[in-house]
Amino acid sequence: MANKLTFDAIVVGGGPAGTSAAITMAKAGLQTILIERGRFAGAKNFFGGVLYTHALNEVLPDWQSRGPALERPVTDTGYWLLSPDSVLRFTQKSERYKKVPAESYTALRANFDPWFAQQAVDLGVLVITKTTVTGFLRDEKGRVIGVTTDRPDGDVYAPIVIIGEGVNNLLTQQLGLAKSDLPPRYVALSVKEYLGLPEKEVEARFGLSGPDEGVAIDIFGDVTLGLPGTGFIYTDKAGISIGCGLLLEQLVINNLKPYEILARFKNHPIIKPYLEGAERLEYGAHLIPETGYDRMPALYTDGVMIAGDAAGMVDALHREGTNLAMIAGKMAGETAIEAHKQKNFSAEFLKGYRRRLQDSFVLKDLKQYRRMTDFLDSTPHFMETYVNFANDAAYRYFTAHGMAKRDMEKEIIRLLTRRRSFLGVAVDMIKLLRGMRG
């Protein structure tokens, strides 16, 4: 090729991590190209899910005036503990959630991601779609100075490359930053259906007063047959997102079909009435990295930084991923801006990226919950035992009419010890606390 295609920075991937990095750099005047393999940014992206506005505020402070593609604010949220015939609900609905902007919104990624990428375009980023990055260009010392793509004459040069390629981090592995592929024990496979339902019907079924209210519920127990994993129900504008995810290893060793688990969940007597008559508009599947702090890839090398799912930045306990990805993308972008000022793109200089993350909630939270996946893996009975116990205990509690209350309490204790020894319960609780406290 006669003219080398050269930019100040290359971003790989048009998800929350990549687009946030691109926006940050473009605002500082860097000539930035973002390369996305999908037909549009978002075509390959798929989540529950809920987006958090604190992250949008940081990346794009005027996002509200840019007509963001969001579904409903989350004004009613929490957990359902599902046993085979009952549900125990721990949810909060509050007027406090009803502020503008809300803390979080449900969203559909094939709508949100293209909107987000369009904001990058408006700020001067060159977004190239339908192009897969295949590898790296290096200088004589082996430092990364660009990427190769699957387009003819598709080499692109820049002194800095930010990778936001998502959970299937082939490029991160190619660089040797991730030492191995994701272990199936530390990754969840999620399937979801997006069901269409008229707005009014969504509101009536979930007790919402209008389009400025919405629910986000995580569901434990029978939804995953008691195996380590969760289910979820989120209300969209005119639809419901319903799905479930299990640690991949559990699907492998039990020979389970994820869509059968979802079908069973949808058929649950508690769940079914919410979905009556809703029309399946889309089905999909995606992995969630639950590798945790201790198994994160290295985050930088000469000329490269890694952000988002590619680096395992997910706090599965709080279903946070997009916000970690956005903040990490922004911090990688800021580090790239500094690197340009100092004309220093060495790994030594890019260490600053990790330092920024360490000072933020991104690495602090990941560090705190570093044992969570191990906890679930080593306590596979946890969901079934305690969720079913809690439902039995609640039933006893609410129906113990005409029984001495002390006897009722004894019976409730027996309900638990029938399932698990006192010592077993104590060990589970200690493990859980360690998982939570870090």
């Binding site: 393999r37 992206n45 989540f47 779609t129 192009t131 897969t132 592929d181 508009l281 889309e282 599947a285």
Partner: protein, 111 residues
């Protein structure tokens, strides 16, 4: 991953799973199929023949892996949702997994 760790699931619970035809789900998915390039292939058929439980037949959320009458594993890559599970879930790393060429493969309408 080895196969030593096997099922922990109560068979009575497993029996409550409703048989589901994945094609009924996949009709809702939009694809741009690359007829010239299969991005997923089996590396070595002999390894599949030795594989005791063929977990790929079950865990793949798109039912991409099927078995023909001779027991050979077939790969219908056209239905792939690009989740990446088979790359890491095959106990013998016997799946050659690549990204489709730019623009091809699944294109979510809602996501």
């Amino acid at each position: 991953m080895s196969e030593k760790k096997r099922t922990t699931l109560n068979p009575a619970l497993a029996a409550t799973l409703p048989p589901t035809n994945v094609d009924d789900l996949l009709v809702s998915v939009k694809y741009y199929v690359d007829e010239e390039y299969a991005h997923i292939r089996i590396k070595d058929d002999r390894v599949c023949a030795e594989c005791a439980h063929h977990p790929c037949l079950d865990f793949c959320p798109a039912g991409v892996f099927t078995q023909d009458r001779t027991g050979k594993i077939l790969v219908g890559y056209q239905a792939c949702l690009e989740c990446g599970s088979c790359r890491i879930g095959c106990p013998y790393q016997n799946v050659d997994w690549n990204l489709p060429r730019g623009g091809y493969g699944v294109a979510y309408k809602f996501g």
